[in-house]
């Protein structure tokens, strides 16, 4: 079955590169993954859909304070999407050869309901990966020491530049 098209929101690519830091949730493959861009801005990538040709991923910016609230169970993954400082998200269709074929930039309110996590999508220590637990502990310590980790936490992503093929994710070493 074909995935929902979003032609009116199509863009040519991302104007930043992402580096994978670790999987928050994994089951026979990544489900929720933490990335940073060149400016050390944090992003989360969620699997949301798939068909015979593509897997579709939802990418959104987040911040250290938001992540910390998530790990303290004050926010859900759904809240992180709604509170993301960009106010929009990206959908990325990746084919079987890991080529990023299609990119869409959607306002949060245009995300289909079945692409959104539930209101119960809280962090659960038992179910998340070791990386998530390490990040939780790191953030707790970091915020305890510095009070606030992100002086420019609400900065939006810069506007998207046209790039013929769009950059892919860096392959982990």
């Amino acid at each position: 079955m074909m995935m929902q098209p979003f032609d009116e929101y199509k863009i040519t690519g991302l104007d930043f590169k992402l580096r994978k830091l670790g999987n928050l949730l994994y089951h026979e493959g990544p489900i929720e993954t933490h990335y940073v861009n060149e400016n050390d801005e944090d992003y989360l990538l969620l699997w949301v859909d798939g068909d015979d040709e593509f897997n579709r991923w939802l990418l959104f910016k987040t911040t250290i304070p938001l992540l910390d609230d998530f790990f303290q169970k004050e926010l859900t993954t759904l809240d992180l999407i709604h509170k993301n400082p960009d106010g929009f998200i990206y959908l990325i269709d990746i084919d079987d050869n890991l080529v990023h074929r299609r990119f869409y930039k959607l306002p949060v309110k245009k995300i289909p309901g079945d692409y959104l996590p539930s209101r119960a999508s809280f962090f659960e220590e038992l179910q998340f990966e070791d990386y998530a637990l390490q990040l939780k502990n790191y953030l707790s310590l970091h915020l305890l020491r510095h009070g606030k980790a992100y002086p420019n936490q609400a900065r939006s992503s810069v506007s998207l530049a046209a790039e013929p093929d769009g950059p892919g994710f860096e392959k982990p070493a």
Binding site: G29, W47, N55, D96, P172
Partner: protein
């Protein structure tokens, strides 16, 4: 000496796959499956559904994706699914399964890894082992 299913792929990795501490055990096991127990994807490790998806991953993760995900008890299997569905919504049924199947994994079926705190373990089957005949659907997810 038993041959593993997909052995040429396991041997291609630079890491030991299955890991050396995996061994044969007799365990009751649960796995998420699709509507019919004969569905092609039910007992196919994720790697072999789409190998390219795993190419960029560290070899330990590729090895893990070449094993089958199983749970030691129904509650663990259901709890894990419930957790994933919170994030993936109804699409989880499309990609992970719709039913819970129950069966016995015997020591001469293959090798199992340690059971983690989620009640999950990874299993590598020997050539010729067919769980579609030994697992039965125990209920809807």
């Amino acid at each position: 000496m038993e041959q593993f299913k997909y052995e040429p792929f396991l041997k291609k990795l630079k890491v030991n796959c299955p890991p050396e501490d995996f061994d044969g055990k007799n365990l009751e096991a649960f796995r998420w499956v699709f509507d019919s127990i004969e569905h092609d994807d039910n007992f196919k490790p994720q790697y072999f559904k789409n190998p390219k998806r795993f190419d960029a991953l560290p070899e330990e993760e590729i090895c893990q994706s070449m094993g089958l995900s199983l749970f030691t008890n129904e509650q663990s299997a259901r709890s894990r699914f419930t957790e994933l569905i919170k994030l993936m919504g109804k699409k989880a049924y499309q990609t992970l399964g719709t039913n819970l199947a129950k069966g016995l994994v015997l020591e001469n079926d293959g090798v199992s890894g340690p059971v983690n705190e989620k009640g999950h373990f990874t299993f590598y089957a020997y050539e010729g082992v067919d769980f579609t005949t030994s697992f039965k659907i125990a209920g809807k997810l």
